[in-house]
Symmetry: C2
Amino acid sequence: MLSPLIQKLGIRFRLSDHDRTALQQVNGRIVSVGAHQDLIEEGEASDHVTFIRSGFACRYRILPDGERAIIAYLVPGDACDLYAPLLGRMDHAVATLTRCDVAVVSRQDLGMLTSDHPSIADALHVSDLVDEAISREWLVSMGRRSAEKQIAHLLCELLARLQVVGLATSDSYEFPITQADLADASGLSVVHTNRVLQTLRAEGLVVLRHKNLFIPNLNRLHAFAGFDTNYLHLPPTSNHPARMQFKSDPVRLQ
Amino acid sequence: MLSPLIQKLGIRFRLSDHDRTALQQVNGRIVSVGAHQDLIEEGEASDHVTFIRSGFACRYRILPDGERAIIAYLVPGDACDLYAPLLGRMDHAVATLTRCDVAVVSRQDLGMLTSDHPSIADALHVSDLVDEAISREWLVSMGRRSAEKQIAHLLCELLARLQVVGLATSDSYEFPITQADLADASGLSVVHTNRVLQTLRAEGLVVLRHKNLFIPNLNRLHAFAGFDTNYLHLPPTSNHPARMQFKSDPVRLQ
DNA sequence: CGACTAATTGAGCCCACTCAACACTTGTGG
DNA sequence: CCACAAGTGTTGAGTGGGCTCAATTAGTCG
């Protein structure tokens, strides 16, 4: 039911076998949702929690002029509305970007789980704090990185996050996100997003084909984007095979 | 010691007199810090928590090219590093923007306080969730609002946040933040920040003089910025005298 | 008063936007 | 299985918001 979540929690927080078993036995219902469907609407206050099991989703807001701003990407293992009741109502919406399987768990069940297993509560809290760090990093990107570096940075982030849940190899992952959805997450226009991607491809920083992203030289992409995994708070022991590559010259555009 | 914090917690969460007394009796030391000084450095892992008692501070990151990105403004009542130990080390730094008084409390004392008073722990958690919502709103601003609207929005947000801790009237507050610090928080250049402020003044949306901000017509500014307090999760009963004003025509630039 | 910091102004440029057309994919129903 | 529609990606041309560089004018504070 919650397998990618368990994987994610286990990476940043020590869980006992007892905790794991409890997590594995959580019951809820699995729902399959098509691409570009709302999972949670703004203003909602539901009595269940939604987790992404497969596919990509996003948090977003619609502005008065109809523009959409994507505030976060959600990948398998991410919760959509974990602490929503503490705040009362959702101040933003959540929608799928691709076809998704989501797990819907009752808040009551989850509450019992976390009170019986305080370390699960802590682990969930930690992963929320990481989400917060990710928001901050997006702010850094939007504020002070060029469009090219911003998107490169995002692609690095997704690689790391997908590796955590076993959905990426050391240098590639499935990337079914639309350029329009990338644009709304980067604060760019669709046209410019397209051109930025072309530049990254032309520089040989990424190979993007058939909804699949391959990174020929991760060190080079990291150096270009100014990417530093610190903010994701992954354990140092985590295996990052790509880190073993030779260091290469930094890339400069123009 | 923590009076603005107590005010802030009390607004969004019901605290018993018992809780309040406990909060009032927290001890720690008060430190006075000059403007533009680091309070917490990136990578730090300290055994105490720092709260802003007076003045403005910010969270920030420095990029490889030396640029600074301000990720959040901190006002009196805000915590600098509440959950830092859960994540291990700080992934960003905190610095003052003006002269500040900060309260430094040992984590051990705070831990005892929250385990004796679970509702204080919840209240702190809620205010962290609001900080998260603020980050998301900043992302919306940077991504999809014009420079004018972005800064107008920020000024609306500060009004609301300062009202919570009694540092703003219904339509004005002390605004000692430098244009350079505003620029780094908005992702704009200093020069353009200056011009944006001039536009807002020329439109009569704000009066900014002698480090003091006055908003002649809050509804007008709200409408212009597309500002909606929802994301701050203030109680509906909160007194917002300015809301009683007449509705006025929306402002359009150019 | 002098030294520094902060705010302002001008000029020229470029990154990113808009509008608009076109090509390629994907999916669906006849 | 094809035809068409819708969605997605790509390209060109022209514009403008926001940038940089550089200099000047306030403020602030010892």
